[in-house]
């Protein structure tokens, strides 16, 4: 039994404490104590260990996602304001190769946080994700985009 079972969680909690209270030696000490004790609560939950590779793919994913969020914000704002006649929305089925639950969770957050696409359901048996798209022109194109932009990088990071 190690002293700090989840080092990243502990570090994140300590960082949050410092951001909330301000940086001073006393607060670092107190925050560190609280972070170590609270992160031990995760021990009893026994989460599946995640294998995460830090490095260039993570940075690239962050940049791509930020750019996509801004671009699709503008696209959705245009749809709301001008209501183009020929727009139609619909569901698409995305067959995925991701198996790690953490990678799937990150993909769900990315897909939903980007305005214009919404993660609805994941079929764990057949590995198909149901996604609702606001501006559906071509299902194949959407699937190709999602696979090309996010899935490949997530595979590099998590699997």
């Amino acid at each position: 039994m190690r002293l700090v079972p989840h080092p990243f969680l502990t570090l994140a909690l300590l960082l949050m404490w410092i951001l909330l209270t301000g940086f001073s030696p006393g607060h670092v000490l107190l925050g560190g104590l609280v972070a170590i004790l609270t992160s031990r609560a995760m021990l009893s939950l026994k989460p599946e260990p995640a294998r995460v590779r830090f490095g260039l793919p993570m940075l690239r994913l962050a940049v791509i996602v930020s750019a996509d969020i801004i671009r699709s914000n503008i696209a959705v704002a245009r749809i709301v304001l001008f209501r183009p006649r020929e727009r139609k929305s619909g569901f698409i089925h995305l067959p995925t190769e991701l198996r790690s639950p953490y990678a799937l969770a990150v993909l769900a957050i990315i897909v939903t946080a980007t305005p214009g696409s919404l993660w609805v359901q994941h079929d764990a048996r057949r590995h198909i994700i149901l996604i609702h798209v606001l501006d559906l022109i071509d299902e194949e194109e959407w699937v190709r985009q999602l696979k090309h932009r996010y899935e490949r990088l997530l595979m590099e990071i998590f699997e």
Binding site: M16, L19, V80, T112, A113, P115, V120
Partner: protein
């Protein structure tokens, strides 16, 4: 109410632009709640506020407080992170609840069988 902190001119212009732009983006997002026709279209609209709207307004607030206290004040990052991470969770949960209800009532055309049959019957048995 005429009240505002005393900032240098460049910060005034920058913060004003960021705040108004962020509020506009958020307004467009909620306007989508009124203008789009069905529920699955409307779910997309409120994502504008928590992503770009919150980003702009929180950036304005960060710059304002950093200039006021003449040291970097970055605790707005916490709100930004929290909102962008939690809103998708709420929306996913809502979309799942909505599609489950629509399937069991059969009013709107929704794709029926992404979930395998056994899981579907298990859910039915619970309700």
């Amino acid at each position: 109410m005429i009240q505002a902190p005393d900032l240098p001119l460049w910060a005034t212009i920058l913060v004003s632009l960021l705040l108004v732009a962020g509020a506009l983006v958020t307004l467009v997002g909620t306007l989508g709640l009124l203008r789009l026709k069905n529920f699955y279209d409307r779910v997309h609209a409120p994502t504008l506020g928590p992503t770009l709207g919150a980003l702009l307004i929180l950036a304005g607030s960060t710059i304002c407080f950093s200039v006021l206290q003449s040291r970097p004040v970055v605790h707005e990052i916490l709100i930004g992170l929290f909102v962008t991470l939690t809103t998708p969770v709420t929306l996913i949960l809502l979309a799942r609840a909505a599609i489950y209800r629509d399937r069991s009532e059969g009013i709107l055309p929704v794709p029926p069988d992404v979930v395998s049959r056994t899981a579907e019957t298990r859910v039915d048995g619970d309700g």
